[in-house]
Amino acid sequence: MDKKYSLSSMMYAGAFKYNPVLIQCVALCPVVAATQNLKDAFFIAVAVFADMLVTSFISSLMLKKTARFVRVAVYLILGLILICPVLWVIEFRTLVNMSFTMRVFLPLVAINSATAVHCETFAVKNDVRTAVNDSVAAGVGIGTVMVICGALREIIGSGSILGRSFNFKFTLPGMAMPVGCLVILGFAAAVLQSVTSRKTKVKPERTEVSAQPEEVELDVDGEFEPEQIDIDLTYDNDDEYAYLLSSVNELIDSFTSKENSEEEDNR
């Protein structure tokens, strides 16, 4: 699996085109629940970034030969080992006042799905440098979305940013609630899809259509056998940015093949 990916292409794919939050829909819980304001969003983004970086590095370096069920547990333990001291330092050794949501969700960052997905689909199948690049790209993607959501929710929901009030005539407190974040994420995903589809739009080749349709003989008496069509549902092989989708597909294939073999054994 070890392939060479350029850092720029990985940054474009991981942070933008296949953004973990907006396109892959992972790590939605911390984004929705803990980005009520810019300060909280920034701290959560930094925690997610650090967690992904360290976990990807260690999993790529040491966990390639380990069984999957052990690996997933190790990701969680690594996340906790990293997050808990950070939490302790922030709470007792700095002057940063943590909000209630941040107190609840910062420890939960250790078990967010984005880390497990990226480690399992990419880090354990590639060399350390590529895995770190991938985790940086994904971390930047998640962090950017968190910061944007936090800023927008604070401005629209409470009419202020980092405590500075804008003196709006009215604010929309509904946007500071999880429903508001989901609306923002929906619009952000639509904008991202629109931008990426415009960038990668390929004009379809025009084909000449015959005026008369071809006559087809129907074999009414015989059994109907549908034509076998090979549909490649995975990804375009030339698209080097699609490595994430290929990894996810491989993961799903491995699970399904395992289930099939178990079913056969049972029979």
Binding site: F170, T171, L172, P173, G174, V179, G186, A190
Partner: protein, 319 residues
């Protein structure tokens, strides 16, 4: 493709045209009772809904059809559920949320999985709870206290003939276009003539609400007067006629429509008893909308299983 679009537009025109005709009565009554304040709120919501619909059509490269009346209907429904003296921005925010977040992203009024007006009003209720549920425009009966807030505080009224007439003619405090029971009954009769199948959710909804209000009255007075107050308060009947009859969100199977209505009624009455809002009908409608496709899916699966069992039994009987 063009034919499909035309068919959809024609259907939308027919469905929402009916709604527009029905909405005329509450609009006229709200202007009759509240004067210029009602006109201001109605115009603000209507224009906001139209502008948002038109602008969103340009942004998503979709041609705006004037015959698609869903946006205008949404604006009017949102306006009629607000108090007449609500600030203009409340109606504008509710209408724009209904169009931009609940209608356009899902492909239009005939495809939206949630009733856009319910989503808009729910958002306004969450953002501006005080403005949405405070009725300062006094009426001859009960001054500035609505039936809903009276029930919330456990109070009841003595149901005399004059009180009853005030209640059914809408001469009470409440949302500006939903309090007149006679107008709502007229709209229901019109709906019965035009699309009687669509009234099934509303019938189930009212039956469930009536039953729950009889069994669990919210005030210590007469059970009957409490039940009448429950049915006539807030936007309960209005939602039964204008929200639960939305063809895009109600289940396809006839029996499921009744179940859908009963479920909405149970959720609504539970929220009225336990919730923080005076009128939680929009939240109940949104929750029921989420379960509507599930009802159809379960029915389809049950039918497939039953038909396969029947065919197996027939095959066994035939040897």
């Amino acid at each position: 493709m063009a034919d499909e679009k035309n068919v959809r537009t024609t259907k939308s025109t027919r469905v929402f045209g009916d709604y527009l005709i029905m909405l005329t009565a509450p609009c006229v009554l709200s202007v009759w009772y509240n004067g210029a304040a009602a006109v201001r709120t109605l115009l603000a919501c209507l224009l906001t809904a139209f502008v948002c619909d038109f602008a969103a059509g340009i942004i998503v490269n979709k041609q705006y059809y004037a015959a698609d009346l869903s946006g205008i209907c949404t604006g009017l429904i949102v306006a009629l559920m607000l108090p007449a003296d609500a600030p203009v921005y409340v109606g504008m925010v509710a209408s724009s949320f209904a169009i931009l977040a609940a209608k356009i992203p899902f492909g239009g009024g005939m495809r939206a999985p949630f009733v856009p007006a319910a989503a808009g009003f729910a958002f306004a209720a969450v953002c501006f709870k005080t403005e949405v549920f405070t009725y300062t425009a006094g009426r001859s009966f009960m001054k500035t206290v609505s039936l809903g807030s009276s029930l919330m505080s456990g109070n009841t009224i003595r149901m005399t003939a004059s009180n009853f007439i005030d209640i059914i003619t809408g001469n009470i405090c409440g949302p500006m276009g939903t309090t007149c029971i006679i107008a709502m009954l007229g709209c229901a009769v019109f709906m019965f003539i035009r699309r009687r199948q669509s009234l099934l959710p509303g019938a189930g909804f009212i039956a469930a609400c009536l039953l729950i209000s009889l069994v669990f009255p919210r005030s210590n007075g007469s059970v009957i007067s409490c039940a009448i107050m429950e049915l006539c308060s807030g936007s309960l009947l209005f939602a039964a006629v204008f929200m639960l009859t939305n063809p895009a969100t109600m289940p396809v199977h006839t029996a499921n429509r009744v179940v859908y209505g009963v479920f909405t009624g149970i959720v609504c009455m539970t929220m009225r008893h336990l919730g923080a809002f005076e009128e939680p009908i929009c939240f109940a409608v949104l929750i029921a909308n989420a379960f509507s496709p599930l009802l159809d899916m379960l029915t389809d699966r049950a039918r497939i299983i039953l038909s396969s069992k029947r065919s197996k039994r027939e095959a066994q009987a035939n040897g």
